[in-house]
């Protein structure tokens, strides 16, 4: 018998639940502070609208030289490195207005006049109108997905469980947003896709734990609730750790070897997987304890 995860089953999780809730609160608090310090998220052109030029310059120059040339055109100051600074790949962002087509051409021309070898790797332009709609689309999708999942859990389990799942879900989203702020990840379409995945992943994990609790809850007394929930967590924890570990393997491969464009996406997913597993065990379950206890005590008194 070779099982290095078994010791996990001997921990009394329920007794320590306030530590877990405290830990999460601290992380979320850091996120809120960061949000106000940074003045919100860094938005990509998907939301803000604008043009992004990704150029590779094969001359022996640094970012300062490129910035000087760009500033002299009077169009924009926004130049950053993409990936490894040694590669000399730059990202130039240009805001959108009536004149933007002309502006983009100006910038391209200035680069080509000043440097010997300029390769335009990609050019993305989004009108600001689409961006607002895009954001709306993403928000509405999140709400609809959340509501439908709530309804499903409400039907399959119990209203109380639905509440617990939603709290865990909001917890996971807040943690994800904190990490986005912490790593200064630019909000773009792929990040929205990652956040939507977290929605699904978080609920999946919570459902697995709840399934166990429901199974063990047959003919339970109010005094046994804590014991039963603890038992359920102990039964499920090995599965939860294993599954997140395998999914993490894939995401870690993307962080280590994947394309630059998906780095942010992978980091946000990584967060979602860890916090999704954690919250299903240590946030969603305790909530059920408190509420189920109240319910059972009421029932027992009315008999």
């Amino acid at each position: 018998m070779f099982n290095f995860l078994e010791p996990l089953r001997n921990i009394d999780f329920v007794k320590r639940r306030f530590y877990f809730i405290g830990l999460s609160s601290v992380v979320v608090l850091i996120g809120i502070v960061l949000f106000f310090v940074k003045g919100g998220f860094r938005q990509s052109i998907d939301f803000a609208g604008g043009t992004r030029l990704e150029v590779k310059i094969n001359d022996n120059i640094g970012i300062e030289d490129v910035r000087r040339v760009i500033v002299s055109t009077g169009v924009t100051k926004n130049v950053t490195y993409v990936g490894d600074p040694k590669d000399n790949i730059f990202l130039i962002s240009i805001g959108v207005d009536e004149e933007y087509v002309h502006k983009v051409e100006t910038v391209k021309k200035a680069l080509q006049d000043n440097f010997r070898e300029v390769i335009i790797r990609s050019e993305n332009t989004v009108g600001p109108r689409l961006s607002q709609e895009f954001f709306r689309n993403a928000m509405i999708l999140s709400l609809v997905v959340g509501a439908l999942i709530l309804i499903y859990i409400g039907i399959r389990f119990d209203f109380i469980f639905g509440l617990g799942a939603i709290v865990a879900l909001i917890h996971d989203l807040l943690i994800a947003f904190t990490v986005i702020l912490l790593f200064d990840i630019e909000m773009d379409i792929s990040i929205i896709a990652a956040i939507l995945t977290i929605l699904g992943y978080s609920v999946t994990d919570t459902v697995v734990v709840y399934d166990r609790i429901r199974e063990n809850f047959e003919a339970v007394k109010s005094s046994e609730v804590e014991y039963v929930v603890n038992k359920s967590i102990r039964q499920v924890i090995v599965r939860s750790v294993l599954t997140s570990f395998t999914t993490l393997l894939v995401v870690l491969a993307f962080i280590a070897w994947g394309p630059e464009t998906l780095k942010g996406f992978a980091i946000v997913l990584l967060t979602g997987i860890i916090s999704g597993t954690y919250s299903s065990l240590f946030i969603a379950s305790p909530i059920v304890i408190e509420l189920e206890k109240q319910k059972l005590i009421k029932q027992e008194q009315s008999i």
């Binding site: 009108g127 999708l141 999942i149 939507l196 994947g258 998906l262």
Partner: protein
Amino acid sequence: MDWIRLFVIVVVLALGVVIIRPTYEWYFVVPKEDKELLSLPMEEVSKLSPELKKKYNEIKKLRNSTVLNMGLDLRGGIYITLEPDPVDMTNFLLDRFEGDMEKVVSEYEKELESQVSISLEILRNRLDQFGVADPVIRRESGYRISVELPGISSIAQAREAISKAGKLEFKFVDDEYMNSIDRKYLNNEGLISDLTLFLKDNVVPSDDEIYGYYETDEFGVPVLKGFIILKKEVVLDGSYISDARVGQDQFGRPVVDFSLTLEGADIFAEITRNNVGRRLAIVLDGRVRSAPVIQTEILGGRGQITGVFTLEEVNSLVSVLKSGALSVKLKEIEIRAIGPSLGADSISLGTRAALIGILLVFAFAIFYYKTFGFITTISLILNLFLTLAGLALFRATLTLPGIAGLALTIGMAIDANVLQFERIKEEIRNGKDLVTAMKVGFDKAFVTIIDTHVTVIISSFILSTYGYGPIKGFGTTLLVGIIVSLFTSIFVVRFLADFVVQKLRLRFLPALV
């Protein structure tokens, strides 16, 4: 029970092979120069030698079957979103309803709808002539059209290709000359089949012109049927058409009903009165789209085009006629140029990362679950294969977030197996023997697997149906992947595990622990 499982697995896999074959052929068998045939403008295609033409048709057929598309972020190109310009639209309707603002407001949505379908027709026609390898033109939510032009890198070039308005003209067919042509140059539709051969032996009258005759195929793409000789003179142009609709004749067959402006009605009455029995060709952007025979004099500016039409052809012809009345500009909402170099390194890096991730998962599964871990690995490989087949079946486009979604699906598919195996271990700990533990464990895990999969199916379905762009691609991949994962964990894994334990009677290998 077991044999039923095996039968279902075999049938599903066979279907998967059939569906994935065109994708395999397109990416790994068809040589590059053959694919380039598809990017030739229609006029060039008609000049090809017979064997090349045959090849062209074969490749076109293959391309339109279940080939998994690569998204623009993987192969580079231009992405454009368009919609009818609201200001232009309002002015156009004000003109049409003679300044009656209330009517403009009440009819606006309906008119917008028809403008979009006309624009689709015109864009298809244009891009086909422009010669883009395989443009993807889609109707999006709202009143939007998205156009993907793979392999083009210049935004200016793309704008030029889509911005021109369609030109609709009516010209007489030179029936007299067409009837005098030797049958050997004509195909069974009465059109000139091989232009080069024909011109070698014949001289076209000086006041005539040669035109290609096109019909819309089932994919909404105009296809060259042959050539026809028209009189040069333009007898009527599109600006006299006020409306066109799909109607029915007395036998319930679809026909095209059209109406003309007041001025157009007079001109048309005169033309039809003097030319009963002649064919009048409808020419859009220099291509003949239909050449109906004038049956009777048409008075009152309302005509009908009958003939043996499929509904697709009728719809397409209605759009063609309406395009004559089209004066609404398309407004560009979004245009993105995506450099193929970015696509090239992204695709190789993304694929490599996905492969490494999946291999790590395999290694871990075998290390932790022994023989059953090996079974999991087999089922995950089948899972990947079936997911790709499912995506090809839905004509989905594989994007970068899509590839990530694919890898993620593998991670989540293993979850179902973990649930099953942990349950079985638990039953063994409770003192059951392996066979009984497996039965109880699989059954108990089944309920949980259904619950978890349904939640993901709900969310990925919403994303794939209502999401924009990359969100949609991600959602579609996830949805297909999760349905496949449900199948592999419930059918494949259970069958293989039962088979290994009961039929092979593992004596020397550890089954699970």
